[in-house]
């Protein structure tokens, strides 16, 4: 959308490069829900979308259909904001309210005071 270059690091080769991938012409909306942004919506309505993403990304790709060729499995990444990460992983939130308050590590609210910086605790929570 912004047409501004984005800094990327290739996970396989660690190659750093600046590319223009912010073009809106490379995006396509697949689901539009006229609804409030809540966890149940992600669990029930958008589940189909993520299951499809998993199917085309893991083993199957897209099978041949209607004269179109079969496509290789895709490299699928999920680019969500923090709220969506919380909803989708069922983890994350207030560290005194949510049992798993971090989407990246196994810290739990019951052991909150046990974890110290650099001690079995991720750098993001």
């Amino acid at each position: 959308m912004t047409k501004q270059p984005l800094f990327l690091i290739d996970a396989d080769t660690n190659e750093e490069k600046i590319v223009k991938i912010q073009s809106s012409e490379m995006c396509c909306i697949l689901i539009i829900a006229d609804a409030r942004d809540k966890k149940e919506l992600y669990d029930e309505v958008f589940k189909e979308f993520y299951e499809w993403g998993q199917r085309i990304g893991t083993y199957y790709g897209l099978p041949a259909s209607n004269g179109n060729p079969a496509l290789h499995p895709f490299v699928v990444i999920h680019t969500t904001d923090q709220k969506a990460s919380w909803h989708l992983s069922n983890r994350g939130g207030g560290c005194k309210n949510k049992y798993f308050f971090c989407t990246f590590c196994p810290c739990t609210k019951n052991s909150l005071i046990d974890y110290k910086v650099l001690d079995n605790r991720c750098i993001r929570c």
Partner: protein, 181 residues
């Protein structure tokens, strides 16, 4: 002798040893002065210029400008401003907002035929599902990755986000993006 040769010969006679650009400028000066053929040459030039601008600002181009610009950058008010401010004499250089709307309706209809969608009523509200597979195939084609995808893994990303539509009304959209470079 055709018209081009006649004009060039006659201008070369009037301005011997001058560059072609100089002679062309003299000719254009004469046309735009309105003296040539009782102003008919100038009238025709204006018609050509208007036709060029109209062709440049076709409704579908305005629609595309709105669709690919960032949110709020190019909207109906911009189309209205072009007509009311730039084309204040009402020559009809720019398309009307309604003609752009008609182009949008045509595009929507074509996209629905091409990709298809289904509407589902849920307890959370109305949800529109595009045909995932068709949309992805067309997106790959648009990015010239359709052939590559038959032999190699192409990178895509799935994303989801919610935003306000207007006061007290939100929507959530999910989509794909080609991130393969």
């Amino acid at each position: 002798m055709n018209a081009t040769t006649s004009l060039e010969t006659s201008l070369s006679g009037c301005f011997p040893n001058k560059h072609a650009s100089t002679k062309a400028k003299v000719l254009m000066d004469e046309i735009t002065s309105g003296r040539l053929f009782n102003g008919e040459a100038l009238n025709l030039t204006k018609i050509f210029a208007q036709s060029y601008v109209r062709d440049l600002f076709k409704p579908w181009r305005m629609l595309k400008a709105g669709d690919v610009s960032s949110v709020g950058a190019f909207k109906t008010s911009a189309i209205k401003a072009l007509r009311e401010v730039i084309d204040h004499e009402g020559i009809g250089l720019f398309p009307s907002a309604s003609s752009v709307d008609r182009a949008r309706a045509k595009l929507d209809k074509y996209a629905f035929q091409l990709i298809g969608y289904k509407r589902r009523k849920t307890i959370y509200g109305e949800v529109y599902f595009l045909n995932f597979e068709k949309a992805l195939r067309y997106l790959l084609k648009a990015c010239h990755l359709d052939h590559l995808a038959t032999t190699e893994k192409v990178k895509i990303s799935l994303s989801i986000d919610g935003a306000d539509l207007f006061k007290d009304r939100t929507h959530v959209s999910a989509g794909i993006k080609i991130t393969d470079t």
